[in-house]
Symmetry: C2
Subunit: 570 residues, 2 copies
Amino acid sequence: MSNKSSIVKRDEAAGRVASIYTELQISRMNVSLPLPSVLKNTFNVVDDAASSAAGDPEEIKKLFPKFYGQPSARLVECDPMACTLMENKSLKIGVVLSGGQAPGGHNVIAGIFDYLQERTKGSKLYGFRGGPAGIMKCKFVELSSEFIYPYRNQGGFDMLCSGRDKIETPEQFKQAEETVKKLDLDGLVVIGGDDSNTNACLLAENFRSKDMKTRVIGCPKTIDGDLKCKDVPISFGFDTACKTFSEVIGNVMTDARSSGKYYHFIRLMGRAASHITLECALQTHPNIAIIGEEIAAKKLTLKNVTDYITDIICKRSEAGYNFGVVLISEGLIDFIPEVQQLIAELNEILAHGGVDRDGVWKKKLKSQSQELFELFPEEIQKQLLLERDPHGNVQVAKIETERMLIQMVEAELNKRKQKGTYKGQFTGQPHFFGYEGRCGFPTNFDANYCYALGFASGALLHAGKTGLIASVGNLGEPVEEWTVGGTALTSLMHVERRHGKFKPVIKKAMVELEGKPFKTFASLREDWTIKNLYASPGPIQFSGPTANDINHTLMLELGQGQPAQAKLNK
Amino acid sequence: MSNKSSIVKRDEAAGRVASIYTELQISRMNVSLPLPSVLKNTFNVVDDAASSAAGDPEEIKKLFPKFYGQPSARLVECDPMACTLMENKSLKIGVVLSGGQAPGGHNVIAGIFDYLQERTKGSKLYGFRGGPAGIMKCKFVELSSEFIYPYRNQGGFDMLCSGRDKIETPEQFKQAEETVKKLDLDGLVVIGGDDSNTNACLLAENFRSKDMKTRVIGCPKTIDGDLKCKDVPISFGFDTACKTFSEVIGNVMTDARSSGKYYHFIRLMGRAASHITLECALQTHPNIAIIGEEIAAKKLTLKNVTDYITDIICKRSEAGYNFGVVLISEGLIDFIPEVQQLIAELNEILAHGGVDRDGVWKKKLKSQSQELFELFPEEIQKQLLLERDPHGNVQVAKIETERMLIQMVEAELNKRKQKGTYKGQFTGQPHFFGYEGRCGFPTNFDANYCYALGFASGALLHAGKTGLIASVGNLGEPVEEWTVGGTALTSLMHVERRHGKFKPVIKKAMVELEGKPFKTFASLREDWTIKNLYASPGPIQFSGPTANDINHTLMLELGQGQPAQAKLNK
């Protein structure tokens, strides 16, 4: 362990914002991480078979003429004499963090840096500041060992900060070209989600089409867990975020059971897909978990969802339990078709004439939408009419679904109370867990995985690869046995029509209702509704018997079953 | 480590609600805890000097004629031959969890149980269910090794559950007497906060005055940290709760710095005193922390508080930071004299005639109250008028202070924007952290401290002591060197006049503005406002270099300085 004064010195040398480190931060900085054995030896990067696209191969081929069909690549251990990577080639590489934070991003950067230090003497690594805007504005910092040091194994994206800008217009592509030329970049690593990786591929195609030397490699980042495919088994950050949420969910469950008087409605970050909610359910066993993809597939209405929750509350009350825990995915409302319909009608009405005080405007709504609108609590009605985005559209994202559902369930329970079919007590407690999980210290899994992704990115660029997303596999085995390579970004894509044009997009990986994680959940949840089979995962540990556990979703998808738990079925 | 099937069996034997245990839960069940060396050897319980009261000694003497002035007791190691405690005396002891949950309660019970097993062969321990009501209704369970096992080192109070009932009326005292007679109890351990410990002392006095054999010992429990005195340096649960909150606060801080666009307003549980907010501030270094006791001492108004926050936001904006973290103690509003005044006037108005739609009723408010009412955001105004408790009183506790302050700060910033004195962007994110921290796995400190408190309670009852609160001291040193004893409960008391009668109460320990923790905070906070000196304590660790850290408040009060942190002052 380094002494503390040295940290201060290194930090001063880096000239960054002053910081004070806790003991755990310091102890994590000094942990040395394991590497897949292929990365500890000499290797070559070999091509696999030609690839296709996730959909619309013809259109993808038109959009990426240089890249469509390119093979994925794989690192293969080799005899030092047979290695074709030039050891003394020095590289100039840029790296950028794009989009929302995810634990482990700093380790990707550390991994690239360490790879370059070890394998390509004299290389330089530039970090673009503030996301893709940093590329366009050529805002960067040259990364040094001292600069990176205090961020090793730390959460957050604050080493470089991030941003949500996209490089889209011809001018913006021009700016990016100027920057990579100015810095004489051999390569660029884009750490981001589905949109950022699509953007990375467009950049790669653009550079290649102009015969520029700059190669581009993507890295799979998002706590939401919706960027994954066969070769990229998981996006980094998902493991840490879910474990952080599950820690507090487990605590709240113990509290609910101890006090016996609250229903906790917990909304979990993750707008597009419900992987986080599903994973947290598998870890903690709530009485109810609402998975958006299931609601959409079954075409359920908001009233259906309210009734489902209310029915369980009534059953639990009869069993003597006036407490419980309900998990709700953040994007729930987006999965309900009738809500989408109402929003569309509201946008139309608000754009033309607006609403009057006496509610005559409501007659413009279709009858289903009118019914739904009346079902909403007053506050939500107000929110729907008042909160608009800059384009004048209703802002669904601002609706606090957990509070809305508490009110709707309460109203339904009151009805049943009057009818005499419910005699319990109901007090709802709303929670939203999101920001807490995006910037925690990466778990050992995320720390190791990201470090390997960083090494992979370095190796792929060293081998002259471009248009690939770094992929590390065989994750159910010890780190030494992990496989390392890169997957053709075009193979993850299909097209969507936007504003009359075909746009390439990486297909979001939604919760598969036929997949192992959902099926496991579905087979257990009935038992969880009435019995209180709460499980408490506790705080993330960096040492001790649980330190290297992997999340349930990944374990199940790898066919390895759920992590060990002591069960009792009565 | 025991194998998992044995847990299932034991659990079935106990006939309790089925549970599924995570790996960490199981690993924590099997940890063996260190004990103060005096508890590992033979000891005698010796008396200290006579005690007095925290205030109004004459009145306390009248209320506790049997106990007033009784000495505190201390365990002193002795030669086995000199030990006066009878080893073969078997005892019948009851234990009850009272009030809100705090991490470690299960370990107190385990400590009592293990003490009885080790030192008093043939003893029985009964757990009363559902708090003090369990005593009155004689609802109990006989605790066995198997029953207790799955709760060792686990959070929550779900082994017995808790309740907020008090044993107050003559009939209730009668019920308690019947129960302890029926069970032939030699002793009763009351695990609770200030009210519950006052109640414990009243019970002890009552039993003694009727020449009953049942002795009563209290244990200092509350995450709020407001039950402490010279001999009882800390209440259990405070350490774990603050570390749990600080973990998520640290994560949110890293997120704020990474994204650079949100102001997080975080309200922290702890109504009466602000110890939790102060401790979390010392651990994490927020830009702003509002300590209720300081607001009260300086007689600040809500407008003052709003301006204080707004001023800092403006200064930060000029320095280029449109993000930040603000900690607010849950009881903030209770500390503001003008708010108390407004509430009193509102209660009066609502009781006599109520309010009219046109707001004529507002003229009944004194001018200061009128001004304050107008300062509140509309939603809060509505809440003040609509939400009432069963006695028709305004419910201040329901006001979500973090949301209210965001709205008030927003309004003030808008004014300044129009004047041109503020040019930044402000987006507030409200958080409330409370339930998450009450039921976490106890930290090593809380686990050890509670186990020692349990042993202490057992030893004091074994020695025939009553009317004491278990006290474990010298906490800054290794567990082996901790001191063990009991402090006269009457020495913690003073009287309050309620309904024309003197009532004994344990004086709540508020944040002392002259104490070391607040002074340390006050000396650092100026630096925290503009610089972003955020510190991230990370998740609670049970092994590794940080596992045995103690919270800052206790370290500072023990005169040991803050826990080590690497600092950088620029």
